[in-house]
Amino acid sequence: MSEMMTGADMVVRALQDQGVEHLFGYPGGAVLPIYDALFHQNSVQHILVRHEQGAVHAAEGYARSTGKVGVVLVTSGPGATNAVTGLTDAMMDSIPIVCITGQVPTHLIGSDAFQECDTVGITRHCTKHNYLVKDIADLPRILHEAFYVAANGRPGPVVIDLPKDIQFQTGLYARPTSSQHKTYRPTVKGDLDQIRKAVEMIGAARRPIFYTGGGVINSGPHAAELLREMVRLTGYPITSTLMGLGAYPASDRQFLGMLGMHGTYEANLAMHDCDLMICVGARFDDRITGRIDAFSPNSHKIHIDIDPSSINKNVKVDVGIVGDCGHVLEDMVRLFRTTSPQIDKPALKEWWAQIERWRSRKCLAYRPSSEVIKPQYAVERLFAATKAPVNRGRETYITTEVGQHQMWAAQYFGFEEPNHWMTSGGLGTMGYGLPAAIGVQLAHRDALVVDIAGEASILMNIQEMSTAVQYRAPVKIFILNNEYMGMVRQWQELLHGGRYSQSYSESLPDFVKLAEAYGAVGMRCDKPDDLDAAIAEMIAVDRPVIFDCVVDKSENCFPMIPSGKAHNEMILNEYLSEDAQDIGSIIDEKGKMLV
């Protein structure tokens, strides 16, 4: 089934053949032929963003909530450079994205033409792979290959840089084939001997813990199901990274909450004291391990990851299994069932008793207030509202920006299902949440999509309010407004003597009026007693809402593992500490270097 058509038509046809329904983009000179081709069809809906960074984040939200590839179309030069932050974000968090960038005509490449930039050069390090198309004959293959590379193995962003003259040229289009890629064939099935060894170790463990991450989510809902089965079969405790939340239900007794820098007391201490760590689709990031030489010193470690370079990168493990989490877990569950190893029940009971003692510290408790809204309280009430009878049966998706509010969202919002939590973990991109929420909402029109935001982060991509209004995406922007770049301020307290250099959010807009200016709904709440009613009203509105939740200005995010410290050296909310401590004196000089 081959047909002659122009390069621009090939792009649109390839998107259709790949099952793309939504395309996030912004037009410009070097992509006009593609925009013209889009004009003549209806099956691919183009979503006009207001900034190319927003296009990539929206595609990320779309991809992460659906499991499909997110698709972006931007012009050359500034269109491409504006997309770079989003591409890097997708690279760090392993999100499948195909980004088509326009380029100046091939005969002008290298001449510093108008809106020319070296897109493949600039994006080489922030994409999984990229292509510059110089021959129309290569275009169909590259278009289909891009989707394959983005989605297979460890997912990531792929850029296709398409010069304008190629868009006008005519060539032979070919539909995607199922033939193997000549070089890129990631391992998905794990080595059975290694899995057998891992199952033996799991059976023999006395103080085990599952430590799971975004890889489980990327592997698909089936992997999350198998993870749940494995965890329940063993009766072992489980903790999750920021990116992995939702793979295992937060409400389950066996779930210890998130681990890492702002993880729970019980999760971090269990990681430190365990004798077997079963890492599934996580990558021993520095926000997880803390001080690396004191990280879980007495444990054997099993690591399942689809990317061989993640194994033994930061932490040396005893059994490394290269493969897709879903496939490996399937083999693991099967082997565990057939071999049914004798679990050391008394040891496990003692381990759980220890974990319950840690849990009884209630590390997420905070000083309540009837005067001001505590940010933790705001997230708790938002969570409760989504569980209210009126919202029963309605899916809830949460996105966040980056900072204190992001950590509070991770700590106080309970995620029960995978693909319902979208946040910028690896790159930590302020401005991620609003466009991501729009991407999620367009994929799930009837769902409740809330961007838990900070007043500083939200301003980084506030222009996407127009997109939300234009496409009637009723996203709810729930701003925890403390008038500070909260996490910066917290670090300045910890590291720089409380000198709040440039971290005060001066001259903030009136968020209610701002929402109204965009044609959305603005709300403000500053009293704990009014909060529940206000949140209910926000959820009930079928339009985009900016909710300015005025919270305690001085609250810090705890628990916390300070830089250069180990998991068992956490600091807790001073409300919980036996003796109040000066947080400015906790990190030593060398720790300050680490950030």
């Binding site: 493949v120 460890r154 000549k182 070089t183 890129y184 030489d293 990317d307 033994n312 000089e589 720790g591």
Partner: protein, 179 residues
Amino acid sequence: MNSQTHYPAQTVSQAVHRHTLAIIVDNEPGVLARIAGLFSGRGYNIESLTVSETEHEKHISRITIVTAGTTNVIEQIKFHLLRLVPVHRVDDLTVNGEAVERELCMVKVVGKGDHRVEAMRLAAAFGARTLDATLESFIFELTGASDEIERFIKLMTVVGLTEVARTGIAAMSRGSESL
């Protein structure tokens, strides 16, 4: 180190080894930039790099990279190289037994009288070929192991060396096994 710091006194230091990697890649635009960029972006060293297309009809190139790092770093380098889409395979020639390693150098020697005679004699002693000769200069070509080339260049410096060009190392594993 004072007692206030929570860092251990000893630092874990691993020995650094030199490894020669043979990387088989699709010869497509930018492939060398991808590989060089991987090394610079992740802070690895390139001591020597040679590249040329080896199978014209399939557009396959063989890249030989000499790098140095701890065992851990070398492992990471190999895995990261394999992540690149145009990379077919990566072979660590150092791990797979002592490989044959050769490089080619050209040296230009300028001088008259005794220096000129001595340069001729040294070149003959090393088995270098004479590629060009004028009344005041020679260009010699020598192929050999890197340390032999080093010795040759050092000696030639004394007798009027003015310019050196080296190809970097090409390497192949010994025995009947092929890539």
